[in-house]
Amino acid sequence: MIMPARVRKLFLTAHVTTTLGWLGAVLVFLALAVVGLTSPEAQTVRGAYLVMEPAAWFVLVPLAFASLLTGIIQSLGTPWGLFRHYWVVFKLVIAAFATIVLLTYMDTFRVMAGVAADPGADLGLVRNGSPLLHAVLALFVLLVATVLAVYKPRGLTRYGWRRQHEEHPVSPS
């Protein structure tokens, strides 16, 4: 079902905002991860790992789900469709995969926060390179999704090809 232009713009605004918000939040996590690994101040290092878990629950997870949901609604309500064009399918796969990885990573945030909260834990044990690696990978993946959304490379799926010829049988393309 094609949405009216006003609704479409509303969902497009929501999708762009949540997706770029997600990207921005990942950048903040990247900064936190660098601070956690490099700061000479013990309290700063512990604070960085302590704040990651609530920040992920309150910012990363809601933005990831909002981006995924608005993206699905946006595609279903426009002629692009969800499974008609390869770039839309890949964006869906990227968003779903990134959200699953994030959810599985939440337990790691919890463990790292627990270690950081333990005053007896050595600072070397508190420091962890995992958030830096994951933030870099997440940033890369989300940038790829952004590039796909902006450039919209050509390519119809088999389903999209069939639907196009059902809807526009005389169309030469």
Binding site: Y86, F90, F97, T104, Y105, D107, V111, P153, G155
Partner: protein, 55 residues
């Protein structure tokens, strides 16, 4: 009504992109299976951490 022309196949970029995506997803699945659920990137130590909000 004329029948639809045959599907020309996926473009090259989609094939490459799809292959890379599949490999990444498979790698993640293997990592999850071999390292176990809930130990994804965990720091070494078996620190029993309290759940956030219970500290």
């Amino acid at each position: 009504m004329a029948s639809a022309p045959p599907y020309p196949g996926a473009p090259r970029w989609a094939e490459v992109f799809g292959t890379i995506t599949l490999v990444v997803i498979l790698l993640f699945a293997v990592l999850m299976l071999t390292r176990g659920h809930g130990r994804h990137g965990s720091p070494g130590g078996g620190h029993g951490a309290p759940r956030w909000g219970q500290r």
